[in-house]
Amino acid sequence: MLKRSRGRWFWMRASLPVAIVVAIGLIAIAMEPLAAQGYTPREYGDFPIIGSRAAIWIAAQLHLFFAAFVLGVPMFAVVAEAIGIFSSDDRYDKLAKEFTRLLLVSYSATAMWGAVLVFGLITLYPGLWGYLSEIFAPSMWVYVGIFFFESFTLYLYYYGWDRWKKGRAKWGHWGLGILLNLWGTAVMLIANSWLTYMMSPPAEVTPDTAPGMVQFWSAFANATWMPINIHRFIANIVFGGAIVGAYAAFRFLSAKTDEERAHYDWMGYIGNFIAISALIVLPFAGYWLGREIYEFNQQMGTTMMGGFMSWLWVVQAFLIAVLFLAGNYYLWIGMGRIPGAERFMPYTKWMLLVLLIGAAVWATPRNMIANRAEITAMGGQFHPFLGALGVMSAKNTAVNFMILTTFLSFLLYRRANKKAVVSWEKRGTTIQGALFVIAAAVVLFYGVYGYFVPNIVRIGFSVYQVLAVITAIVLVIVIDMLMMRGAKSRGEIRWGEMPERSQYALFILAVTFTWLMGLMGFARSGIRQHWHVFEVLRDTSVDAATPALGYASIVISVCVLIFLSMVSFIFWVGGLAEKPVISGVGGGATGSAPVARDQEI
């Protein structure tokens, strides 16, 4: 009986996004002949009360939130499944399946908001929609097609989980997971081309270029396309991890048994681990994106970093600081459930100090390029204090220090309950320490030296800083893995014995990251200012001016609230439909999982 009803669920869920996509396709086709009959569609529509801009903003942002989630989660579902296969540790397989279940229900939400967005564009911005669809029509069809395949791959992946569980079939099943990721990435690449085109249309496109004359490939692979692909790809992993972490935290807090608590504690740890590891790479991708924007158009770069948006970066830095702090805080508390971690606790206050200083430096705005009205509004050309810290050199240095510190937190966490048995333990640790010191010294050296060289040289310096940090991280991990071979346990991690306040760090992480995404979405779209397509298609609607951050923050908060409520609902419904999958993690202090496995990731 239960099985039957689940089957019906399946078809309903399966057919919904597909039906929506087909409907969009039909409408797009239906609009075609209208244009041919010499009927000129109006440029803009009206949306009651909140206005067209806010309406489309909310639709786009919510679509993006869900899309980012369904893009990020399959990535680590597939990785977790692979770990499960290689280590024959069933826990990971179950975790992967639970991830996928979250995915399933989020998928229709993505499609729904996608439909809202497309209908919104057609009814509120028909002119822009017509323009874009004329350039991108073929890729829109491909998008719809891929979406179709993606849905079915996902359903096969999830519902085939228990059928294709063994031997070759399991590998086939894992292949489905890979395929799912390929579809997802392809969908993102296509959608990114549309929005990056609006930001950086190729140079040969002018206001007089008829959309039909725009070369498809030069529009598709435009200047900011690849940097945004990379930045988003990474951001989506962070996002997926953060939301999964919050889900686990929620489940942890409402858990009834120790076993459940242990499982969701572990899941929360993994969500946080994924989020923070990917977060560490994000600044590099961000700086690359920023540089490409500058290179594409100086004026746009100046608007972004200096003009009316300069304060946005202060808020961004604040949010990122919260992310680093919340992630580290969670790890530090987590050490409480690891025997042997006490010996590292004294270091945490110094790490906290580095993080706080780093955050403060990063939040100091760069000298702001502003016009007269803006200067009056800001109260001076330069930020009132620490002007010199506001330049890139200082920021790069600060963020690299924050990354090193976070990595150190992970290392200590990993190391906490282990006792190496290799003879060279002391030397190994000294070398690791030296690597940290060298990396920090390189970062600091170039950070300071950066003040004495021209811009163009300084940009090169940030590469050395990054290389030093990445090299140190890789070498330290390699040494650590060798050193901890066959390490003796100082005691099991007591999964589930986590103070409740730690879970709130996971919520803060998720909320903050979601908000950050909303903020950066505003940044991306705001730097176009009064252009739909930068310096090509002008925004002539009543909403052409780009609002100040205060208004934007309200819209962003509304989006975040809608998203979180929908996600909570979806997760809650998901919990109703199925009994939570409890993995074999040991419950509480009686846990029996071997140490080496606890920290596979």
Partner: protein, 259 residues
């Protein structure tokens, strides 16, 4: 209870971010005024638009009205009355409207006597309608406004044929770039140009490459030594008129001007 706490933390976090974003200076990006007058635009509308441009976006008041840098326009100058009354007498046989229009679109054509350097003004940045609005405003200063909707309509048509925007000159030759962008209207180089701003001769040994670039992109960021009194007179939008390539060519060229 737990759920309420979770809700509280989430909403609290969102509220804090919203509050921070509202507590910082609120900067909007306003749409640059685009005058789209129809041919039946009224005189009053033109004059009002011109007045706004004059004291706002067009930057005329960085030079006019100080007496020292340029002749006064809104008040009398040299015993000749306000600009609206003197414009018809400047060039024999040229009516006020033509003279004012020429002064703006081709500032090098007539130079008022009194020891001034030629006016530096980039009419190209403005639409034809905006230029006409300025002319109407100036005429209104003591004279009769003769700018008509037909002038505006004709200008709009010309604009449509050759839209503004993009670089001033197509060349990547540093001297061409400097001439085309009026740099030499304020700076001297090997005897060419005017002496309002610091001379380019030897500039590469005086200031760093970085600072040269910054001085062009954002002239107000640092003021050249001894030129404090002229702070703000170098137009801030010059870099927008250069391609990225041209900017680098210029910076390289200037950095190469050793002592």
């Amino acid at each position: 209870m737990t759920n309420i706490k979770i809700l509280g933390v989430m909403i609290g976090t969102i509220a804090i971010y919203t509050w921070i974003a509202n507590a910082i200076p609120q900067l909007e990006s306003v749409v640059p005024e685009e005058l789209s007058f129809s041919s039946d635009v009224s005189e009053a509308e033109l004059v009002a638009a011109g007045a706004e441009l004059y004291s706002g976006g067009a930057g005329c008041t960085t030079c006019h009205g100080l007496e020292t840098r340029a002749p006064n326009l809104l008040t009398g100058y040299g015993g000749e009355g306000t600009i609206g009354t003197r414009c018809g007498t400047r060039v024999p046989g040229q009516d006020c409207k033509t003279y004012l229009h020429e002064s703006l679109v081709n500032p090098m054509a007539y130079v008022v006597e009194g020891g001034f350097d030629p006016m530096v003004f980039q009419a190209r940045v403005f639409s034809g309608a905006q230029i006409w609005a300025l002319v109407a405003f100036l005429q209104d200063q003591g004279g009769v406004v003769t700018v008509t909707g037909a002038d505006v309509a004709a200008a709009a048509e010309a604009d449509a044929a050759a839209p503004a925007g993009g670089p001033m000159v197509a060349s990547n030759d540093p001297l061409e770039i400097m001439r085309g962008n009026l740099c030499l209207g304020c700076h001297m180089l090997e005897g060419e140009g005017a002496e309002l701003g610091p001379a380019f001769d030897g500039i590469g040994s005086r200031i760093t490459t970085d600072r040269i670039r910054r001085s062009i992109i954002d002239p107000a960021a640092e003021i050249a030594e001894g030129f404090d009194h002229l702070a703000g007179s170098m137009p801030p939008n010059l870099a927008d008129m250069l391609t990225a390539r041209q900017l680098e060519v210029l910076v390289d060229f200037l950095a190469g001007q050793g002592g």
